[in-house]
Symmetry: C2
Subunit: 173 residues, 2 copies
């Protein structure tokens, strides 16, 4: 492939490919995870062609996943004066990455679950005994737990990194 690579690029390539594999294990598409890893470790914003070349993927694939990452707020678009291309830059601050991912997962994964639980609880509000009552209680328990957890999460992710750190230290100490 490419000759004359700086030493750190070797490690970077391992990071990118391996992060991609890990991604698939947590339900994220491999290419998206790889692009994210690539951008997180990019000294400069990269354009679509850069990404295509580095990962050896098609334009369509690169484009879709870049835009998906933008949709996740993990990547932003940079435009340069006198250059019509779009460049992409990933958030590198770990705390901000954490907050962004938490918010998105809450919105996409937890809130629909809570809606379902509430719906099922409402449908069985009348049950006063037996299995129906237990079902209703189980729905309410799950709802309460998730809702409370979300409140806690909201509190944490609206904190500044330093405050969160301080708070966590107190828990550990």
């Amino acid at each position: 492939m490419s000759k004359e690579q700086p030493a750190w690029e070797k490690a970077r390539e391992e990071f990118v490919t391996q992060w991609g594999s890990l991604g698939t294990q947590w339900g994220i598409n491999r290419t998206m995870a790889q692009i994210h890893a690539l951008l997180m470790t990019a000294p400069e914003p990269m354009c679509t062609d850069d990404v295509m070349e580095k990962l050896q993927i098609s334009r369509g694939n690169a484009h879709t996943n870049l835009k998906d990452l933008v949709g996740w707020n993990l990547v932003r678009i940079i435009t340069r004066k006198g250059d019509r291309k779009e460049y992409f830059e990933a958030e590198k601050d770990v705390w901000k990455i954490f907050v962004t991912i938490s918010k998105e997962r809450k919105r996409r994964e937890i809130e629909p679950a809570i809606r379902l639980l509430r719906d099922c609880a409402a449908q069985t509000k009348g049950e006063t005994s037996g299995p129906g009552r237990e079902f209703n209680q189980q729905m309410k328990d799950l709802d309460e737990f998730l809702s409370f957890g979300m409140k806690v999460a909201d509190t944490v992710i609206t904190m500044k990194h330093a405050s969160a750190l301080q708070w966590a230290m107190r828990l550990l100490g």
Copy 2:
């Protein structure tokens, strides 16, 4: 299909199918999520044939996913005297479910990521300036964040539910 259904079974069926769909969104196989939902709302432990019939799935599929759930420690096997069948019962306590899932995800998803980050950091330990240095720092930042987060998580998941609740209330209040 089945005639004469208790009212709550209607809600239960919605819960099971919808929980299955949600499952696929967070990277869990639909059948596994459905079986989990079914068992979480089962008044009695169920055997493989019960699950097959309720979900209209094959024996192989039911069996594999039941055993996977057992592997996740979310479901346990019950045997009854004078009955060779295995029955399956899901943990219903939300706090215990949370603790179990957290432990497994930590082991399967976070720890491999930390190993990768440390490896990549070690490979670039020598970099003292420029992009190499930044890459090394990024790996260390991510490692530090995840490792610290895991410590916090460990502390929380080894707490009793009541203690965790009290602690969370203090954060919110």
